[in-house]
Structure formats: C-alpha cells, structure tokens
Amino acid sequence: MNFQNRQPLGPRRDLAAGACAFAIAGIAINAVRPDDSVSTVPLLLDLAVSLWATIWVAVFAMLSIGSVIPGVRRMFAPDPELVEPDPPVGSSGFRSGKRDWCFAILLALICVAEWGTHGGERNGFLASSRPEAGMEDWTAADGYATVLDGHPAQGDGLFLLNLVGLFTAERPSLSGEFDRRAGHVWLASLLQRPLGSYWAFALVNLAGWYASAIGVWWLGRHRWPQTWTGELAAVMVATGQGFIFMSTAPQAHPAAFGAFVTGLVLFDRLSLWSLVQTRRERWEAIIGPAWMTGIAGLLYFGHIPLLLMTWIFGGPRMRVQSLVAVSAGAFAIVTAWQVVGENLLGLRFSGGNNDLAGGAIRIWLRIMSEGGWSLRWQFHAGSIRGLLVGAFYYPWWILAVIGIYASPRRSRTWALAILAGTLLPAIAFSPQFRLPRAAYFAFPAVYLLAGASVSMISQMIATRITARDDRWRTAAGLVACAVVIAGLATLTNLDLAGDQTFNVWFHEAQENSW
C-alpha cells in the first residue's frame, strides 16, 4: 500500500509539535502569574526547557497516534517509509564476518569490565544512597543496602527473595512489592542454585546489558547503513550510565532494557511497520511483537514504552487493527500473570511499587484541578530538564540533537518515536518520583542519534585532516570516534575515581541546578 499519491504535502509532525511546544510554553511562562520558578534566568530556562520538552513529547505523540485517523494523517507530510520502503533486513544486518565477531567480543569485554568494576559496594545504585553522596539524610553508612550471600547489594534485593524462593521451591507463595516484575525474578531463579542470589541477579543484569549492546548495534546497522552509527552506539550502551548504575544491583531494569531493545529489533526483523505483507507475514508481525511487548511487561513496565513507541511510529503507517492486536496481545500476557498470580498463588499485586503508577495519575489530576499556576509550578518543582539530564548528561543530548540532523529521515522519525514513547511515561510518573532510570528506556534513540552524529563529525574531520587514500581517512575517522567515545566513557566512569555526581543524578534527577 502506498499513500504517496493520496497525501498532500504538509508539515512534519515533529516540527509541528516543536512549534506547538514553543507557543504553549511561551504562554505558560508569560500568562501565568510570576513566582519563584521564573525569578532567575537559570530557573526560567529550566522551566522553559521542562515545559517545551513535555509539550513536544505529548503533542508529537498525539499527532502521531492520532494519525490512525485518515483525516489527521492527511494533514501531515507522508513519512518516508510510505514513499520508499525500508531496506530488507538481510541487506544491512550482521554478516557473520571476522570483523563482526571481533567487535561482538570487544563489546562483551567492555560490558564485563564495566559490570565487574561497578559491582558490590561500588554499585552506583548503592553508592549513591550513602550519606557521603549527599542525596539521602536517613540512610546508614552502608546506604540502602542488603547482604546477599555475603555481598553488599542494593536494598531492594531483600524484597525479591521470597519470589526467588517460590521459583526454587523453597518458600511458599508470599505477596511482595515486586509481584509484577516476577519475570525478572524467574530469570534469576534459573541461576540461583548454582550461583546464589547475588550472582544470579548480577548475571541476569549482564545478560540484559550485553543484549542491549548487541541489539543497538543491529539497529544501527539496519537503520543507519554504511556508517559507524551502530558500532558507536553499541559502545555507548556498553559504557552507558544506566547500565553502570545498575551493574550488579538486584533490579529488573537491565533485563527490561534488554527486552526493550530486543523488541525494537524484533519489530524491524518481522517488518511490523511494513505495509506490504502477506497474510501469514502480517500475523507473524503481530504475534511476535505482542509476545515480546508482553514479556517486557513481565520484567518491569517495559511494555508501556514499547507500546507507546509502536503507536507513535506505527500510527501514521500501520493498520489500526494491527496496532490494537499488538496492544491487546501484550496486555493479555501481562494480565494473564496477574490473574494466575492472584487466583492461584495468592499474590496481591498491590502495595509498595505495585501502586506507584496509579498514584502518579492521581497527583496529576489534583495538580490540574488546582489551575494553571499549580500545573506550571510542577514543572519547576519536578524539573523535567533535570530528569532528562539525569538520564543522559548534556554531551549525549547535544550529540543526539546533532544526530537528528545527521540522520536520514526514516531513521530520524523512528528515533523520535522512541524518544517520545519512552519519555512520556517517565514524565507522567515524575510527580510521584523523578526516575531517570525510567527515562533511560530512551537509550536506543539517544545513543543511535549520538552515534550518527559522532560518525558524521569523525568523517568530516577525517576528510579535512588528511588528503591521502581511503585507508588513511578511515584510520583518522576511527581515531576521532575513539577519542569522543573515550571522553564519554570517562564521564560515566567518574565514580571509579570517587565522584558519585552522575550516579546521584541518575538516582534522583538533577533538580533545578544546571
């Protein structure tokens, strides 16, 4: 199906959302009575960026999802996939060559090195909760910690042990804070007997970490062919703040990040977005993504950003029946666990972390009922800019913005859909808790866009500094890439030198400071 001839030229959704965001943020800043949030230039800019980012994400998502309606779709310029189909998967994927194997091994070594050097008491999640990090004033000297098999570990591990015991047949079914994340605990329980709880959780994290790096590499190869974007982004994942922060912590996030990237790979591999499919292909393209999205929901709340991304990117190009089918399938899997857990195992799926999403919605409703001033104040009190910078520090955002312009339009549109789909839940959740680790689901988009930018810049540098043959240019380009990547990796590894700043920001966002 080709919509090229049916759609008139029109504005792009991303640019239209940007213009809307400027207008609404401007009104919110100028039309609402002044308060402390606009009292200084840094605070004003913080508020402006927070408002703009939130409105852009919301409007872009609405325009994209709204494009399932033909009338709305026709208002905007046709997306490139509708004009020119995606390249076939085999044309840009892995080639099983020697170089690819070497790079895969290099990625594994980097992941293991980062995982090993940030484990135990050096784990960022744990270290940033100690009094010396300056974030908490209620924790003891060891921070929010527990001891798993003699190893210091982040404190939530204590609350996972009953579920581990259920899976290893050592304990009866007891409801806990993390009933919804039981898929993650099941994965760890497979390793519990031979390795013990600490190493079981730690190795599941490592598996999620490596799967994310490999997945992002594949996506880079597929969507930015003939560039180093995939390789660069994969190294950014291997040295990424979110994975380093989690390292050996008994937490579901690395597994969920891995599931998220695997989902994105699967969507492309099964040509979910393609409009030209046989009946059998279409069913495969629905069942596979629905299953993967459901799995992401059994590990953590990964099904929410995956589904949002699917609707945002798929809205303008997929049949609405397909979108509904993927969503229904995913929720069916997540709900099936709740039904089984509640009725057969006596789990409650309530209390503690189970109820936080509902709490966030109630807070938004209360804030909105209090009027414009209260709503604007929320963007100051819960700085969205601080949330986003906590997840990815400025260099990554700057490179990603350059990458937007350095990327072909089909890749850019896809990356922006991931950005909107992943940041929307993190922003929605922010009145309850500001969690950069929720915003970190955006890492495939941020790192791939940043990788595209570094790739482009290094090519420019290589072309300028050497007029010799291609081999010299390639070498010069590689050196330029290596320098940038090493600089970025130095930032994420600052905690090894005793500086916990980035871990603290990743733990609880950057607040209003720049």
């Binding site: 010396e132 003891a140 497979l190 519990q192 299953w291």
Partner: protein
C-alpha cells in the same frame, strides 16, 4: 533438511523444559514456573528461530540446562542479616555499646579534611522527652557525655513508626591521634514508652564483628541483633566546611 530436523528437536526440548520445571514440585512453584517457562522460555526459543535453526536449538538447550540446574541441590535462598532491627532499653542499668576503630586510612584521611564531627544514634519512635537517652563517647583524649532528646532529631525520618537519627556534635579534638572511640547509650530514666535503639547489618570489611554489644544489667551479650553481622546504628559523621558528609563511619 538439517534446520527442519533441528527445529523439531528444539520443539521437543521445549516440551522437556516444561516437564522438568513442573514435575514433582509444590503446586505453587509448578504454576509459577510453568507460566514463565511458557511465556518467556518458549518465547525465547521461538524468537531465536529468527536468527537460525542452530541458534534456536542452542537457546532451547541452554534453557533446559538452566531448568535442570534450578532443580539440583545447590545454594539455598538465605535471608540476609536484618537491616532494621530494634532493641528495647527499658531500664537504666541496660547499656548499648559500640567501639569504633579509628586507625584505618579512610578515617584518618577524612578526619584531616573535615570541618565538623558528629555522632548519630538511631532510635525508633520520637523521643519527646528532652533527656531521653544519655550518650557517652570516650577516646584516649577524654570523655564527653550528653543527654540527647527530641531537639536533637536529625534528618527525615524520626517518626513513631520508624527509626530516625539523633545527632550530637563532637569536638574534633576528641579524635586527634585517637586509635579507638567507645560510645555507650543508656536511658537517662525509666521512659514510657521505653527507648527502642536501632540496629542494622555490619557490611564494611575490617569492622570487628564484636564492635557492638549490649549489657542487659547482668551480662554483656554479643552480638546484640537477631543474627550475626549486626551492629547498633551508631555512627560518626565527618563533614566538610559546606556541611556535606565526607565520611559515615562505624
């Protein structure tokens, strides 16, 4: 032919995984394992088929190995030492004691950079009496005794249902060239309700496992908590000139 053959074997292994996971286990475990074997395990096997038949077979084999390993005798799921326990101190003859080693490099380096030093004692329930507990700290430079109560509450959590810190500023001179400090906590009088002193786990390597102990009025009990590797939640805090904690020590 080979991929189809391998594909059948993968399907057979998948069925075997389910059998291994649920047979001869308590029914709750069988239900929980069965759900995730089918949803995640089978899904992984099916998904890996997109890479190739051999990858699918390898995935199935790895999951089967893990399912078998899950049933083997191995490490039990052991409960860690409690991070949050309390001991009631109801009589003036009872005493909690914690000894700090001050010879380690980390302490000396932080002390040399510190501007202020303080002692934090965690107690559960709000101490509404101004003279709730008596805290004594002794080094070879001298002894300081202070009555600590409601106005010394520090940090976020002193609440009736949750432990919170009570802070006692200490002159830095008390620690000059001191190799050890001993802190004792007692009730200054019979309180209603009685004072509940917090305890937690002891993680830091090198800390004497008997650094904390409890005098019941007749004998010293070591360790005071419900399991080993525990200590009183009594800590020294060193802060820089901006008031930022640069070391929390026990």
């Amino acid at each position: 032919m080979i991929p189809r053959h391998i594909g059948r074997m993968s399907a057979g292994i998948a069925a075997l995984i389910l059998v291994v996971a649920i047979v001869d286990t308590p029914w709750e475990t069988a239900v929980a394992r069965g759900f995730f074997v089918v949803s995640i395990g089978f899904g992984l096997i099916a998904g890996s088929g997109l890479i190739g038949a051999r990858t699918q077979f390898a995935t199935a084999f790895v999951i089967l190995t893990l399912a078998v390993a899950q049933r083997l005798p191995g490490q039990a799921v052991s409960n860690p030492p409690s991070p949050n326990w309390t001991r009631t101190i109801s009589d003036t003859s009872e005493l909690a004691e914690h000894r700090f080693s001050l010879t380690e490099t980390a302490w000396k380096a932080a002390l040399s950079k510190s501007a202020t030093t303080s002692l934090l004692v965690c107690a559960e329930a709000v101490l509404d009496q101004p003279d709730a507990m008596t805290v004594t700290i002794a080094t070879n430079n001298g002894t300081v005794t202070r009555v600590v109560g409601a106005e010394d509450a520090h940090g976020a959590h002193p609440r009736p249902d949750r432990g919170g810190f009570y802070r006692m500023p200490i002159q830095r001179d008390l620690f000059d060239r001191a190799g050890e400090a001993t802190v004792t906590v007692s009730t200054s009088k019979t309180l209603t309700p009685p004072l509940r002193l917090c305890g937690t786990h002891s993680i830091r390597p090198g800390v004497d496992p008997n650094a904390s102990r409890f005098f019941s009025g007749t004998e010293w009990i070591t360790p005071p908590g419900p399991t080993s590797h525990t200590r009183w939640l009594i800590e020294l805090r060193l802060a820089d000139q901006r008031g930022r904690t640069i070391l929390a020590w026990y």
